[in-house]
Point group: C2
Chain length 432, copies 2
Amino acid sequence: MAVKIGLLGLGTVGTGTAQILLDPTGRNPLLEEITISKVGVRSPDKPRQVELSEGVITTDLESIVNDPEIAIVVELLGGLEPARSLILQAIANKKHVVTANKAVIARYGDEIYEAANEAGVYVLLEAAVGGGIPIIKPLKQSLGANRIVSIIGIINGTTNYILTKMTSDGADFGEVLAEAQQLGYAEADPTADVDGLDAADKIAILASLGFAGRVKREDIYCEGIREISATDITYAEQLGFVIKLLAIAQGTEGENSQQLELRVHPTLVPKNHPLASINGVYNAVLVEGKPLGQVMFFGPGAGAGPTASAVVSDIMNIVAILKSSGTNNNLDPLLSCVHQHFCQITPIEAINTRFYARFLTKDLPGVIGYLGTTFGDHQVSLESVVQIGFQGELAEIVVVTHYVREGNFNTALDEIRNLEAIDSIPSIVRVL
Amino acid sequence: MAVKIGLLGLGTVGTGTAQILLDPTGRNPLLEEITISKVGVRSPDKPRQVELSEGVITTDLESIVNDPEIAIVVELLGGLEPARSLILQAIANKKHVVTANKAVIARYGDEIYEAANEAGVYVLLEAAVGGGIPIIKPLKQSLGANRIVSIIGIINGTTNYILTKMTSDGADFGEVLAEAQQLGYAEADPTADVDGLDAADKIAILASLGFAGRVKREDIYCEGIREISATDITYAEQLGFVIKLLAIAQGTEGENSQQLELRVHPTLVPKNHPLASINGVYNAVLVEGKPLGQVMFFGPGAGAGPTASAVVSDIMNIVAILKSSGTNNNLDPLLSCVHQHFCQITPIEAINTRFYARFLTKDLPGVIGYLGTTFGDHQVSLESVVQIGFQGELAEIVVVTHYVREGNFNTALDEIRNLEAIDSIPSIVRVL
Ligand SMILES: NC(=O)c1ccc[n+]([C@@H]2O[C@H](COP(=O)([O-])OP(=O)(O)OC[C@H]3O[C@@H](n4cnc5c(N)ncnc54)[C@H](OP(=O)(O)O)[C@@H]3O)[C@@H](O)[C@H]2O)c1
Ligand SMILES: NC(=O)c1ccc[n+]([C@@H]2O[C@H](COP(=O)([O-])OP(=O)(O)OC[C@H]3O[C@@H](n4cnc5c(N)ncnc54)[C@H](OP(=O)(O)O)[C@@H]3O)[C@@H](O)[C@H]2O)c1
């Protein structure tokens, strides 16, 4: 018997999902056992790129999550509400849920998974991170034998496109953003992407799976790419780096317990690092585990087709379970989320990282000595100090540090900022 | 209640597997529910790197696959026999099987999966391809919504190490092979690796999953790397390529049906292609699907830790199913193998590919014209003809073709070989 599903949303991803489900030939035969019985939208009269039977499209989203015939609700609305409430209502009605909504899961994952576990239903979200790249299921199912050391991702296509374009064209942020908006790679309001919020939602989800604990979204340190200039990209290049917006989750030994560093920020990545060559709208996630070592997952991080591929794989997974083990069973512990405790997040001042900093200075010879001394006074050891260019009367000095405690680095900077000979510090970027 | 497993083999991978299972802290909690109850080896008195209780190690492998207490048999012996018979015996006893043995699965997959389906047990083999890289499960579970276009892999670490080293050092095959043998990256008898047989076993498995049909191992065209010279690597470099041993499975439209190209051979890969930068013992698999586009999986393709990570993930998968849905159920269609038909494999003469060929010639001006004409006569169109160097009196000419039918190219070559002015054709390599 066919499994009936209800789609909430028929936009970019919803349409891609319906297209796969309505054209199963040459794909996994399981797809032939799935029927789209209702689709919820806002504007019922909008022309659609898929042909659905009369009466399938509705604006009454509640009627979908309450429909006793529907076994799986697929949430592709986006945004926090009504997405959250509808997901919870579907769960309350013992429906399995598939979603691509990282924003809802990153913020309300606790509430949603608690409800799902109680109701004995799955909430799958492969499409929420990395678009078409299989990363959620591998983290849950294939890498669990490991102690995860770190998860580092380029998981926002818009910012990666902008940084790649800035690098190849030597262009500035504003210019490239405008172009990306025209091409549809960036939204009219680009905040969620360029300020790193979307990447933070996604790393919250990956960290929670990889480190088996809940994550408070607001604990994630988050810095976007607005401040990155063409100048910094050029200097980074000369030093052997490319600049990428990385989302990083990294286990560290805290004083009393396992801690987690969790942060999103532009980062200088050495050119020979596997993430350095991930360009354009592509995404990649590098996972390091013991005893595995490093594995990387690479592919299209967004777009109708790739994202729908992930959504449909989740639907198929649930259908396969319904077909094989029926409904009167426990949840598969590898596919459900059962963490109770919260991960301890290291405050940003306490992390250890390397830094790149660019200074505009007046009195060159004096300044180099002063920089060295002041950093040294605060346990910041320098890897290189290079007078790299001029801006008018001012000399540009670029400093790259060894690993330092971020708090120490900032204290040193505060002191340096006060020096007469320092005109300004236009950029500070962490180094991988 | 703990799930009891039996290991067949306690060599490189067996030891790595036992190490993870005996030290579950910080890994998935499911590992705590697994007990190693027997381990079969050949030499019971060999010192081992894991501490097992007395009586666990045995040389009586039959006693493991017949033990009614054991739910999962983990085959890590290698070789065809007794591995095949023991796997079949375990299945007959309704035990689930986990194996890392590509050789057995590529040759006896049909027999094994038929028996497994009848017995209602799983045979999982994540470790058989790509070591620690999750690729089998993603192909089965995450990419099934797609029509697979191609699967292209660097899936033999030994040959990739040798080619990488030849490229970086300008060294010849024999030299680097000897060094790889000393370092333990190549076996004393390197045939299975350097002649492409191991890669062929693995692509047989990937193709069968991706294209949902059985594959006859002997249908796979297979060419190793013994003939690749430092000269060709240098010339390839100048033309913008690196040389990699690729395993390729690619769907094509045949006259009457979907056909599959299935082949292993050294290949010129454009430097900007994602597979071009996979170096050393690393493996990578690039999968293209519709509507997904390209995704790539990258990581350590062998070694105790990575391979054991994959073995244990399979064990955990089965344990999770046993815990959640019990034993009286059907097999999950996404985790089992149910293909009945055989894939139609295109004969190598009929494939379309590009070629690189190097000629040693006497009469230079005459030869270039003759090459052009003869290739043209056989519908082989050339992308470039370059006189690239000299070897003594002889001029070296390198030809790169556009896409041609392999049979046409060979007919043209046969004619060219007969020309007086052609001294020899030292190398012919396909181009991606
Ligand atoms: N686009 C991507 O490449 C991508 C990639 C990964 C994940 N995602 C995630 O996938 C989800 C969907 O994204 P999308 O790009 O497909 O969005 P979209 O194109 O804006 O589509 C949203 C759909 O939801 C409907 N909708 C929204 N709010 C509604 C409401 N209050 N009541 C009824 N219908 C409502 C819209 O109806 P109308 O059609 O009537 O306007 C539309 O069909 C989001 O969570 C997003 O983060 C997207
Ligand atoms: N090594 C890798 O990196 C790697 C990567 C991917 C897949 N694999 C696959 O994993 C499998 C195991 O490889 P491995 O490298 O671990 O092999 P290995 O180090 O040679 O170990 C083989 C083990 O099996 C035992 N054994 C072999 N034949 C036996 C027989 N007839 N009776 C009893 N015991 C027997 C050996 O016993 P003793 O210890 O007493 O000699 C040894 O413990 C192979 O299928 C291989 O292709 C290996």
